[in-house]
């Protein structure tokens, strides 16, 4: 009989042998609370018994809505021990629109098919109404509300689902990405393999990334568990409020690894003062992973220059590429050398889709080579492999690909073919490394988070003076910008009154802010019939962006107001 591969539950069973293995939570006063893996396991067992007493069985989905803290992990591992499938969802944003949050959460719950939500009592109250519309048989409960009963051991098979995380997919509303135990374990092992412990050094990681995000959960938590190591965590809202907390925490605990999206490095540049950095030493930070969104070469350079004074080394900066559908990482830059930026001829890249090095060309950051076990292809429009230097769709194959989008075989078949995943990203290979060059899929990616363009477009549907179903939302990384920008293109209605037209740009921005919490960086009001459509009348988002960048999309009124995206004042 073949040996069953090790998975999260085996690691949980074995963890806690080293006295230093566990989770450390840092709060706003920079005070730490520590929980060993053995204690986490015992508390998770109790939660498992409680869920089983409620009727949660193997394969049942359990939604988890918690801020960063011990309760998330008790619920997460408790669900896994019960053979159930955790579905981490995001808690409400501070001062955000409550009704929008509830509406969107209800949608995600519906799509995940969750039977139970585990959360905090204050969130259970907020979510009360959302539950009416979903199939949540067991309602919303806190860990304290769970019945007390001894757990029964359920041994998950490697092919059982271990996790559902949401992604924008290639088109349409957010999609539940279903990952098996095998896939999640394979990804965690790949990552853990990059940082072997030595007698001189135990690797450790600091993360403020959300636990409903693959880079936070799969990238940080599982490798720490697999290695019985300590992981230091704090909440994403604390990072945004005080970015210096990230650098200070790294320094205080002598952490060697910490990942974040491009926007976070930019936020440090803009919001961390020299005074905040007093006593901070970043020389122990060996790997500053940078992924989950487009990477700005300017931000990388500025970060390395600014923080060199506190010991930050350019070799530490490590651009990477991955996506939820692959559990997480697909390519890594070389850990031992500084990140690589190459200049490419602008015209050839934009017009011919060919990458040719050119001294004064556009700078693009290399995201490196496939991680062990992964392969990639660059595929042309006819489905054939393209030669190095040609821009095409990035297809990947590896041991941690998703099983599919939960309950959506059609969307799954669109991206998973013969064991290969069409990422929907555009890219090319140059000198053996992958460079990204935009997206073929319709996804808006801002601050490391994917948004379905439909959610943004739907927000302006009711704005007076707009033509029905004639809005396109896209994001991309403009040259020299510190991050991706969000552009919204709308067509005015033929019947729009002059005062409605005048109010349109503001009304659209307000509608998008209110519904999604996103600020529109560029807004273009177009004449009716201007947006490119397919023969069946569907809007073509990628083509809209191409026309706009080529200067071929005539605005009714150019309302472009360029804001420094991601920059707070």
């Amino acid at each position: 009989m073949p040996e069953r591969p090790e998975g999260i539950l085996d690691w949980l069973e074995q963890a806690g042998r080293r006295p230093e293995g566990g989770l450390r939570f840092v709060d706003r006063t920079e005070t730490a609370t520590w929980f060993g893996w053995a204690e986490i396991r015992e508390r998770a067992r109790a939660a498992c018994g409680g869920m089983q007493a409620l009727g949660i069985e193997r394969g049942a989905r359990v939604a988890l809505i918690f801020p960063t803290g011990i309760d998330f992990f008790v619920a997460f591992f408790g669900a896994l021990l019960a053979g159930a499938v955790p579905v981490p969802l995001y808690p409400p944003a501070r001062l955000g629109r409550r009704e929008e949050y509830v509406r969107r959460t209800a949608q995600l719950l519906e799509r995940s098919g969750a039977r139970l939500i585990l959360s905090e009592s204050r969130l259970c109250r907020i979510l009360g109404d959302a539950l009416q519309e979903t199939h949540l048989a067991l309602g919303c409960r806190t860990l304290e509300d769970l019945p007390v009963e001894s757990p029964r051991t359920i041994l998950a098979a490697p092919s059982d689902l271990a996790l559902v995380q949401f992604s924008s997919g290639t088109t349409g509303d957010p999609k539940p990405v279903a990952l098996s135990h095998r896939a999640v374990a394979a990804q965690a092992e790949i990552l853990a393999g990059f940082w072997p412990d030595s007698p001189e050094q135990r690797q450790s990681c600091v993360s403020w990334l959300p636990l409903y995000h693959d880079m936070g959960l799969i990238g940080c938590v599982f490798p720490a568990l697999a290695r019985d190591a300590t992981l230091t965590l704090f909440a994403p809202e604390l990072f945004v409020a005080c970015p210096a907390l990230w650098l200070r925490t790294l320094s205080r605990y002598r952490a060697t690894i910490s990942p974040a999206p491009n926007f976070a490095y930019n936020l440090c540049l803009n919001r961390v003062s020299d005074k905040d950095m007093e006593g901070v030493d970043l020389s122990g930070w060996q790997t500053a992973l940078n992924g989950a969104e487009s990477i700005s070469p300017g931000v990388l350079q500025a970060f390395c220059e600014r923080f060199a004074a506190w010991g930050f080394r350019p070799e530490a900066m490590t651009p990477v590429y991955g996506l939820s559908e692959a559990a997480l990482a697909v390519t890594f830059s070389d850990l031992a050398r500084p990140y690589r930026v190459t200049h490419f001829d602008r015209e050839k890249l934009a017009r011919e889709g060919r990458a040719r090095a050119s001294v004064n060309g556009r700078e693009i950051v290399s995201v490196g080579r496939p991680v062990p076990g992964f392969r990639l292809r660059i595929v042309g429009p006819e489905g054939c492999d393209l030669p190095a230097g040609d821009v095409g769709q990035v297809w990947i194959q590896g041991p941690s690909l998703m099983e599919g989008y939960l309950g959506d075989p059609e969307a799954t078949a669109n991206v998973l073919r013969d064991g290969w995943l069409d990422t929907g990203d555009l890219g090319f290979q140059y000198a053996g490394e992958l460079y990204l060059a935009g997206r073929a899929k319709d996804a808006v990616i801002l601050r490391g988070r994917n948004h379905a363009p439909e959610e943004i477009e739907r927000a302006v549907e009711e704005v007076p003076g707009l033509r029905t179903s004639s809005a396109v939302a896209v994001s991309w990384l403009p040259e020299d910008a510190p991050g991706e920008e969000l552009a919204l293109f709308v067509e005015a209605s033929r019947q729009a009154a002059p005062e409605e037209l005048a109010a349109l740009p503001d009304a659209c921005r307000e509608a998008v802010l209110g519904a999604t919490g996103l600020a529109v960086d560029r807004l273009e009001v177009l004449a009716p019939g201007t947006l490119p459509r397919t023969s069946s009348g569907k809007l073509r988002r990628g083509e809209t962006l191409r026309l706009y960048l080529a200067g071929e999309l005539a605005g009714l009124e150019s309302a472009a107001s360029l804001r420094l995206s991601g920059v707070l004042a």
């Binding site: 944003a93 501070r94 955000g96 945004v240 005080c242 600020a519």
Partner: protein
């Protein structure tokens, strides 16, 4: 006093250079996206040494609402 403090936070941390009045709505008028709303909440907490929780934040739509919640916390 509280209004002036919030105006100072808006100037220093949110890039707002206009006058801050109680009737201004945080999202529509001050144009705060989710990251700026979070910054506002955190900076107001720092400045007035109060803690806002989910319940406090539920009904806040305008600057005036925020002033009232902070005042309630300070008086308590």
């Amino acid at each position: 006093m509280i209004l002036a403090g919030i105006a100072e936070v808006a100037r220093a941390h949110l890039g707002w250079d206009g006058v801050v009045t109680p009737d201004l709505r945080l999202i529509e008028d001050l144009r705060l996206d989710s990251i700026r709303l979070l910054t506002l909440a955190a900076e107001v907490e720092n400045r007035f040494r109060v803690l806002l929780d989910e319940g406090d934040e539920a009904g806040i739509e305008t600057v005036g609402d925020l002033v009232a919640v902070v005042r309630g916390k300070l008086d308590a």
